[in-house]
């Protein structure tokens, strides 16, 4: 018998609120399946199961706030394990087809019962296409034809069952979700329902798109003080500030920071990048940040004293480099999700991951693991125009790299004066783990790596 508990989604998180269950008793979950949506003080996140088995019982109702570590659901490893749990038997017969988590998630959103469809993938595994077909097939039988849904005929409901994604989509499309007939389980409104709605309804109102729900992470830096949207409830703003404040106080109280700064010569890197970009469509062009992040990740791998976690009086270097990237949100606030294994990614891949991460961070679609496990963080305030930024380390990490604006600078070399693009890089590092010499070697290594951009 396993328990699914309220996970810690960040060093400063003390409790979380259950927003939505994506499973019900009797469902089979694999390790890594997204099973619930949890609201922390700062952001709403998908949470996956660490257990595998059948959900025997949900212990916490939607809307309840509980401390981290609180059991949220009982999970039976095998159906026989818990003879008493009747729900485990029903619909469990899971072994049938393998349902990869993303497909399961899609099925949930579309209101498709995966146990009733046949998989066309390897070894009978369900694919996205299977689920989409099943969703399409069940629409006509379960629901009135979409075009028959005259707006006036559809009764308005105050309480609507729907997924967060469907609600978000509804807002984006200017659809009143209360007017949308649901075709999902128990009449839940699915993403597909929402997409169908505008064609039946009046043209979508030119409503301003939804403000980002201002997920905010404890990355210290300028920008935290930016105004939050006025629609944001006051208590949310206050709790955001409290949690940033408490984490930063803890960082400054417990971590003896030291600071270094150096100027990185970007002449070679920018020239190479412009050459590469010249031959590329906009969609695959690079920005200097991609090169800077890759060089930082490689340098971090070579200098383990800046890459890892300091916990319980001990430093544990990390063998992987999960590079946290501070992302400024347009309505104020910051998140610092991780690009996993950034040191092993080709620059192009890293660039795509960066774009993907930033757009998801701004839309509030980050995964739990991205938020929880950066091994070192980079804050890149160059776009905001400052020349240098000295970050506050995000515990339990031991280093924070700050990158300023790329500027053209007069540059003396071999007795000649020239002009070249340069950027000020800073390091805030933990003196319990490294000394200035090591820190300096790390920063110098970033500069060296940038001199051969084609090898990054």
């Amino acid at each position: 018998m396993g328990e699914f508990r309220m996970p810690s989604l960040g060093a400063d998180m003390e409790h979380g609120k259950m927003v939505e269950w994506l499973v019900k008793p009797g469902d089979f979950v694999h390790r890594g399946d997204v099973v619930a949506v949890v609201d922390t003080d700062k952001t709403v996140m998908d949470v996956e199961s660490f257990e595998e088995g059948v959900v025997a019982e949900l212990l916490v109702d939607v809307g309840t706030t509980v401390p981290i570590g609180t059991p949220l659901a009982r999970i039976t490893q095998t159906p026989d394990d818990d003879a008493g749990a009747a729900p485990a038997a029903e619909g469990a017969a899971p072994a049938a087809a393998h349902v990869p988590p993303p497909v399961r998630h899609l099925a949930h959103q579309l209101g498709v019962d995966t146990s009733k469809i046949r998989g066309s993938g390897r070894h009978g595994a369900l694919t996205r296409a299977d689920v989409e077909h099943a969703a399409a097939a069940q629409l006509p039988s379960n629901a009135p034809a979409p075009h028959a849904l005259a707006v006036s005929a559809a009764p308005h409901r105050a309480h609507v069952r729907s997924s967060p994604r469907a609600r978000r989509l509804a807002k984006e499309l200017g659809v009143d979700i209360g007017m949308v007939p649901g075709t999902g389980p128990d009449g839940a409104v699915t993403e597909t329902d929402v997409r169908r709605a505008p064609s039946a309804a009046a043209p979508p109102a030119p409503e301003p798109p939804v403000p980002v729900p201002a997920p905010q992470k404890e990355v210290p830096a300028v920008g935290l003080g930016q105004p939050l949207p006025t629609s944001e409830p006051q208590d949310r703003v206050a709790s955001l500030r409290r949690s940033v404040g408490s984490l930063m106080s803890r960082s400054k109280k417990s971590i003896p920071h030291y600071y270094l700064s150096t100027t990185l010569d970007l002449g070679a890197a920018v020239a190479w990048m412009e050459q590469v970009n010249l031959q590329r469509p906009v969609a695959s062009r690079l920005v200097p940040s991609a090169l800077l992040l890759k060089a930082t990740a490689l340098a971090a791998r070579e200098n383990p004293e800046v890459n890892g976690f300091f916990t319980d009086g001990d430093f544990r270097p990390s063998s992987s480099v999960h590079l946290g990237v501070a992302v400024a949100l347009r309505h104020g606030g910051l998140v610092a999700p991780a690009i996993h294994d950034a040191d092993t990614l080709a620059v192009d891949v890293l660039m795509q991951n960066l774009r993907d991460l930033v757009s998801r961070a701004r839309a509030g679609h980050l995964q739990r693991s991205e938020m929880a496990d950066p091994t070192i963080t980079v804050t890149n305030l160059g776009d905001l125009g400052v020349e240098a930024v000295y970050g506050v380390i995000y515990p339990p990490q031991v280093a924070m790299v700050g990158l300023g604006r790329v500027v053209e600078q007069p540059w003396a070399q071999n007795g000649m004066l020239g002009v070249r693009p340069a950027v000020t890089a800073t390091l805030s590092a933990d003196h319990r783990v490294s000394d200035g010499l090591r820190g300096a070697r790390f920063l110098a290594r970033i500069d060296e790596l940038l001199q051969k951009p084609e090898e990054l």
């Binding site: 301003p208 939804v210 949207p229 010249l278 906009v282 969609a283 920005v287 309505h331 774009r355 776009d383």
Partner: protein, 80 residues
Amino acid sequence: MNEQDARQAVHTAIGQVAPDVDLDGLDEASRLRQDLELDSLDFLRLVETIDESTGVDIPERDYAEVSTVKGLIGYLVARG
């Protein structure tokens, strides 16, 4: 491309990349980075969105010309 179409394309693209910008009250002298607070990734997406909607691909060497709303509209009028 005439100025009205260019303005429309620019407004639509800004609306997608930076939904919080008030397009009705948009001062065309606004600088995309400093005033509208687009970062380099936002800017890249803006250029990409405009390429998709108008077919005008703005190469990197011309980025300086399109650093303001007005400059961007003018660029599209000239090349679109």
